[in-house]
């Protein structure tokens, strides 16, 4: 199957189970969204898919275009075409945006070195498209970046690396209206029959700009409900209680 295929995934961190039998199929060429209350496991799903070492997978499988990911290191998964836009991108002081992007481009290139001229041309074009100021490429990666700049940086990476499957972990959080428009612009540019996209979010806003083909609700470590736009509207209006009921889950535990 072309795309991301997750079957009965169980994952834990520090011996606490977070994902408890999550199954999900996102074919390439489609955009799926995941919503869910805090603590449901949304970011864990993103981290586990990318291979964060802090998480342990006890059961289940994840495959990209039919290839098992669980045996692969994060960099190997990336070179297969997987991309994760982080919710909280980390800073790497002293490493310029340009140097970082070139190193990543080289790592993705079959010869180990991406041709410089094309790289520079692409960088200029994409930075312009994302309305980034000239000189941005010389700043230390995520060093002193505002929230909006960090998220734009994630999208710039997507445009430069052209993944075949991208997971966006709450990319919209902390963004103002304008920044959100630019992010959506970038994502929609990549959208097409080749790209599979999984958008993790809390809010309707981004899903109005990047319209998903399908929407899933993640709750207590599992996908409990799937549907179309109407699901999103109902959650916005009523919250998640109805989802709990329909899924036959116990009422939400009292806040800690």
């Amino acid at each position: 199957m072309n795309g991301l295929s997750i079957k009965d995934l169980h994952a834990e961190i520090d011996e606490t189970a977070i994902l408890k039998g999550l199954s999900l199929e996102v074919p390439r060429g489609e955009v799926h969204a995941i919503m869910g209350p805090n603590g449901s496991g949304k970011s864990t799903l993103a981290s586990v898919a990318m291979g964060h070492p802090a998480f342990e997978v006890s059961k289940g499988s994840i495959a990209l275009d039919g290839e098992d990911l669980l045996e692969l290191d994060p960099d190997e998964r990336a070179r297969l075409g997987l991309f994760l836009a982080f919710q909280y991108p980390v800073a790497i002081p002293g490493v310029s945006v340009a140097k970082f992007l070139k190193t990543a481009a080289d790592a993705h290139h079959p010869d180990g070195k991406a041709p410089a001229r094309e790289f520079i041309a692409a960088l200029k074009e994409n930075m312009g498209f994302l309305e980034m100021k000239s000189g941005f490429q010389n700043r230390g990666l995520n060093e002193g970046f505002s929230g909006g700049e960090k998220k734009r940086m994630e999208i710039l990476q997507m445009l430069m690396l052209k993944p075949s499957f991208a997971i966006m972990d709450e990319t919209d959080s902390g963004l103002d209206v304008d920044a959100l428009q630019v992010v959506a612009k970038g994502v929609n540019k990549l959208r097409g029959p080749e790209l599979g996209l999984l958008v993790i979010t809390h809010y309707e806003r981004i899903l109005n700009l990047i319209e998903p083909d399908r929407l899933h609700i993640l709750m207590d470590g599992q996908i409990v409900h799937s549907g179309g736009q109407e699901v999103m509207k109902r959650v916005e209006a009523e919250g998640y209680d109805w989802v709990r009921e329909e899924a036959g889950l116990p009422p939400e535990p009292a806040a800690v």
Partner: protein, 477 residues
């Protein structure tokens, strides 16, 4: 995650660990007046130099080895060291450098004949106790620049040696300075006359070869008014089971408006995984900004030696003079480093900059020790210090001992320090972009050292970056 595991499994081969098979001219092991006379005689030194050596030796005998450093080593038996070893024949019948020697230096990437010479760099090559050759001397002579071995300078320019030797590091300064003054063998002498900007980078390459030999090199650089020179020092040694002592003294004297840039890339053999063998690098390096508006910059990349103990310093006597210290000190396996700088502000409106980056890995100890001292008359003194430590793995240590002594109330002194580790999140972020774990760690460390690397002369900065990457490989994965 391998990088955070306790054991570093990869043994990084020290590629300079080979030994050159060559006939040597040596003195017996041990330290006494006779040995000193022997050394002086072998070097054909004038009487006044022998007197100086004996005076230093007599003084050294009254001193004791300092113990305040954050360093642990077995007591050194000074009688178990050979104080002189020279290649038996340096020149072959055609007057060319002995092929074995030339091969050695070629293997280290240091071409001795000018055909293959590194463009823009004049080289003095020192093998154990002697200088085996200096390139470009004629070109430099045209500019009035003297660049030769210290031994030659004693013979050919005695008045300069008498004037400047010991003027920045007197023999009584410390234990190792006294020892060095007694038994120093060779090193470089450089003199740049008024107003001359040296057209080549000058470089000395030190190679220790003989076993049981200590290397006590002595380097002296003098820049007259408005002169400029950029000097580079490189060092390697063979892999041996026992420790060898390298106790050098480097003096820099800058007259009015002069500027000296001194860069070091030190890669002495550092011992094996268990900490056996390796060079003890105990060095006194000091620069004197004697004239107004003079400037001395020390840039060092230290990635070798079992133990590194050095504080390249600048004494800013001249008004408006400037001192700078840029350092990357890398320790791994069981290496120890206690290094830093002393910036002494004496004249008016002097300023100093310190940027120190320490990286420790495996089971090593890395200590920064610095002194910023402002004397009462040093009005308008300014200092900015940045001391950052990076820890790779859970078993190494990093310490910082910054001393600030100011006796002038309008001095402005700023000190910043950070300690960090290569975080799992940083590695994961870079790996999620397809970059391998090793390349990711290397990228992070290079970013960490960026401010220092950009101070190195071009040719050396490329080498230094590559060297650091090589050393890191053994500590990651």
């Amino acid at each position: 995650m391998p990088i955070l595991e306790t054991d570093s499994k990869l043994v990084q081969d020290y590629e300079h660990g080979f030994v050159t098979d060559i006939v040597t001219d040596e003195v017996p092991k041990g330290l006494n007046e006779d040995i000193i006379r022997m050394i002086s005689a072998k070097k054909e030194e004038p009487e006044w130099m022998l007197k100086l050596r004996l005076e230093a030796y007599a003084h050294w005998q009254t001193m004791t080895s300092p113990t305040w450093a954050f360093i642990d080593h077995p007591e050194i038996d000074y009688n178990d060291i050979r104080y002189y070893s020279a290649p038996g024949s340096m020149l072959d019948d055609d007057g060319e450098v002995d092929p074995e020697l030339a091969k050695t230096f070629e293997r280290l990437g240091i071409p001795l004949n000018e055909r293959d010479a590194l463009a823009g760099v004049a080289i003095d090559a020192v093998f154990d106790s002697v200088s085996v050759g200096t390139t470009h001397t004629e070109l430099l002579e045209e500019h009035g620049i003297i660049f030769c071995s210290f031994s030659e300078a004693i013979k050919n320019h005695p008045e300069l040696i008498k004037q400047y030797m010991g003027s920045v590091v007197p023999m009584k300064d410390n234990y190792f300075a006294a020892l060095n003054a007694a038994v120093f063998t060779d090193g470089s002498f450089c003199f740049v006359p008024k107003g001359v900007r040296c057209p080549l980078d000058l470089s000395t390459y030190f190679r220790i070869n003989s076993a049981d030999t200590g290397q006590f090199e002595r380097t002296l650089i003098v820049c007259e008014d408005d002169a400029y020179v950029s000097y580079i020092e490189g060092c390697t040694a063979p892999q041996r089971d026992t420790n060898q002592l390298h106790a050098a003294v480097v003096e820099i004297y800058a007259h009015k408006g002069a500027e000296v840039k001194y860069s070091t890339v030190q890669n002495w053999y550092a011992g094996n995984d268990e900490g056996k063998g390796g060079i003890y690098n105990f060095v006194t390096k000091r620069g004197l900004c004697k004239g107004a508006k003079s400037k001395i910059s020390w840039t060092q990349v230290e990635v070798g030696s079992a133990i590194t103990w050095k504080y390249p310093s600048v004494i800013m006597e001249g008004d408006g003079s400037i001192g700078e210290f840029y350092s990357v000190a890398f320790t791994n396996k069981k290496m120890q480093a206690d290094t830093g700088t002393k910036m002494i502000h004496i004249g008016k409106n002097t300023s100093s900059t310190i940027i120190s980056k320490g990286i420790s890995a495996d089971y090593s100890d890395n200590t920064y020790r610095g002194l910023v001292k402002v004397l009462p008359g040093a009005d308008g003194a300014k200092n900015h210090s940045i001391c950052d430590s990076m820890l790779v793995g859970p078993n190494c240590s990093a310490n910082t001992f910054p001393y600030i002594e100011s006796e002038n109330s309008n001095a402005v002194i700023a000190h910043e320090a950070t300690t960090s580790a290569i975080s799992e999140d940083q590695l994961f972020y870079l790996q999620s972009r397809g970059i391998s774990e090793e390349d990711a760690a290397s990228l992070i460390v290079k970013g960490f050292c960026k401010e220092v690397f950009k101070e190195l002369p071009m040719e050396f900065s490329v080498e230094a970056v590559k060297l650091l990457e090589l050393k890191l490989e053994g500590s990651i994965g």
